[in-house]
């Protein structure tokens, strides 16, 4: 039964058909699956499969990235209300677009995937000053700051990721908080993320989910070791 549900769900996600995906979920609940089963055995594996496929599938469209993340986030949100116990959160992230940048849709894909992967996400919105990123990360005890920048001047400028890095260094937070960047300009120069002081980058929103989860784990492992 589970096999069939997984296949039907994956197909609906692949076809970016949100209504069909929800119909699969409703039918699965009616057949007796729990909300936990749906999140952990259907939705999360589907997101993970998409993450591993996306770089190998030259025809994967940005529309598919959006819908994968959106459907995963919406289903997860709906299922969480039915959970018997609140699920364990694997970590916390603050996310926003760099100062001067209003392109909010890229980070939206990232947020959708992270929510489905049980990461607590605080969305700082668009045009976010560097200070705000750092203050919010401290306030929420986040392991990762994610800065999205879609324009050349916001991805490389002094008010974006570079300033976040400087503030982290200044305040001695570099062990506790990692910095990840994403956005079109980083795709054109795969070393750009280093030159703006980021610890990691991702070429697309869905892969960013994986990169961020890895960073969270690294920070937590570092803490436990200490």
């Amino acid at each position: 039964m589970l096999e069939r549900i997984i296949q039907a769900y994956n197909e609906a996600v692949f076809e970016t058909d949100k209504e069909a995906a929800f119909a699969v979920v409703e039918a699965a609940l009616a057949e007796g699956l729990t909300a936990e089963d749906i999140v952990f055995r259907v939705v999360i594996p589907a997101v993970e499969e998409m993450m591993s496929n996306i770089t190998r599938d030259p025809d994967a469209s940005l529309a598919q990235h959006f819908m994968t993340a959106q459907i995963a986030a919406e289903v997860t949100e709906k299922m969480l209300q039915r959970f018997a116990h609140p699920p364990e959160i694997i970590g916390r992230v603050v996310i926003g677009t760099a100062r001067g940048d209003l392109h909010s849709l890229g980070k939206r894909i990232v947020m959708g995937c992270l929510k489905a992967l049980m990461v607590d996400v605080t969305d700082l919105g668009v045009n976010v000053p560097a200070e705000r990123f750092v203050e919010a990360a401290i306030e929420h005890d986040a392991q990762v700051i994610a800065v999205s920048a879609m324009m050349v001047h916001t991805s490389t400028g002094e008010d974006g990721a570079r300033k976040v890095r400087a503030l982290l260094a200044e305040r001695g937070l570099e062990d506790r908080i990692r910095l990840v960047v994403g956005g079109a300009p980083y795709r054109f120069d795969e070393h750009l993320y280093q030159s703006v002081g980021a610890d990691a980058w991702a070429p697309d929103g869905v892969s960013a989910g994986r990169v961020i989860v890895d960073l969270i784990r690294a920070v937590r492992a570092g803490k436990e070791a200490a």
Partner: protein, 534 residues
Amino acid sequence: MPILHVCHLDGSEHRLEFETGLSVREVLDGTPYRVRAACGGTGACGACQVRWLAGEANPPGLAEYQKLTPEERAAGERLACQLRPRGDVRILLDHPAPPSRWRSIDPADLRPAPGARPELSQHVYGVAVDLGTIHIRVALWDRKRGRRIASRRGPNPQMSFGADVLNRLEAARDRPGRAEELARLARTAIIQAVRDILKRDVGEVTPMLAEIGQVVVVGNTAMLALLGGRGIAELLAPEHWQSRIEVRPREPEPWHRDWFMPNAEIILAPPVAGFIGSDLAADLIACALTDEPAPAMLIDVGTNSEIALWDGERLRLTSAPGGPAFEGVGIRHGMPAEDGAIHRVHAGPDGGFRLDTLAGEAARGYCGSGLADAIAVLLAAGRIKPSGRFASSPGPDGLRLDPDNPRTALTAADVDAFLRAKASLSAAMATLLAEAGLDWSDLARLVVCGAFGRQLDLDHARATGLLPALDPARIELLADASLAGCERALLSADGIEYFDRIASKSDTINLSWIEGFEDRYIDHLRLRPVPPLR
């Protein structure tokens, strides 16, 4: 429509469809194959000789007896301005004009005179300019009589600094001398267009320039800032996008000198806000959107798509962050609506396709309407799925709609770019409606402006969700509406106040701050009719 077959001296040939009643010169003026000319098509200069080869046309008239020798007439020489075909005709373009990037605007795209200034006693001529990111449109008017002398369209030479306005603004801000260079490029292009009109349609240039009393320029805020050399830094900071930005040059005097227009009042029509230019205001003026109490919407599809919603009392204006796919930018074989652009695609027999190109040339790529058509036709045939993926992957080189022409290939990334642009546009329209508490069915009019809109197939646009499924009787496709609005301002005594009136009725909305826009955007990321508001 009848066909004008144009043969060239090198043996090549072009087919041009035309409206019966036009002279051969009028047909050719809208194409790259212009005849020589030095009068306004009155037969006075005799420069526009062509050779008639076949087909039915009017007999030679008085001007042709005066300007052509008996030998020339016997050989079939005619004056293109006097030659009016009565059906399919074949001519030889034996005296072509030197190549120019300026050509006449299709008469079907121009609007009737919106008024006149009979009270004017001197400097009665005026120039209306629509300064677009990709194209510039110019019309010369006799303001006193309310008569359009001629019009031109041509490329914006700033294109060499990028199709994207942000690239041009950054170049102007960051590189010394670049702002002046960009301003000069635009100013030079405008005056070249005016001189082309004077040379070909009037017959004298410098004395006429001195008779020009007013020049009105509309454009998006970035183009006006680059033209006037003011407001560039503000435009690069998002906090200014919803405020009014001063773009008028501090010192207009050098323009009078450069343009040889000592008596012209040069007006840069004020933009409504950083991201809402006076081109959108001109669209609204041209179609009188705010004259009726019924709700109405206007969209101007271009590099950025601007949207205006009139609810009977106020205008809500916004700009959709859709990317320039509708201008062909970011599409593998994308191009502006220029010669050789595929602008219409039809399903042919046996699963093939029929491609219509502008100026009847061999297909060089897709302009926005051609792209929208191609995707709609492939969707209907089941070869593209609602997700935007090809049913079977065509590979990295894409699917050729004409198997013999590689420039007709559409790739998966092209479909994706279209999908995102159309989702942004239709989600922005839906968001404005929701903000006003209206629904699609409340709209008495939907006006679609821009070259893109004029070529659009409504059934296709509605099937892919590019436009809402409104009754076609409520949808108006208007090319060159910005120029028409600019002309209306030029021909009225208080013209520039039109722009202030639009601004005073307007609220600008930045979709980045509107809750729900992103949800709608994602809902619209499918190839299907526009979903109902929720």
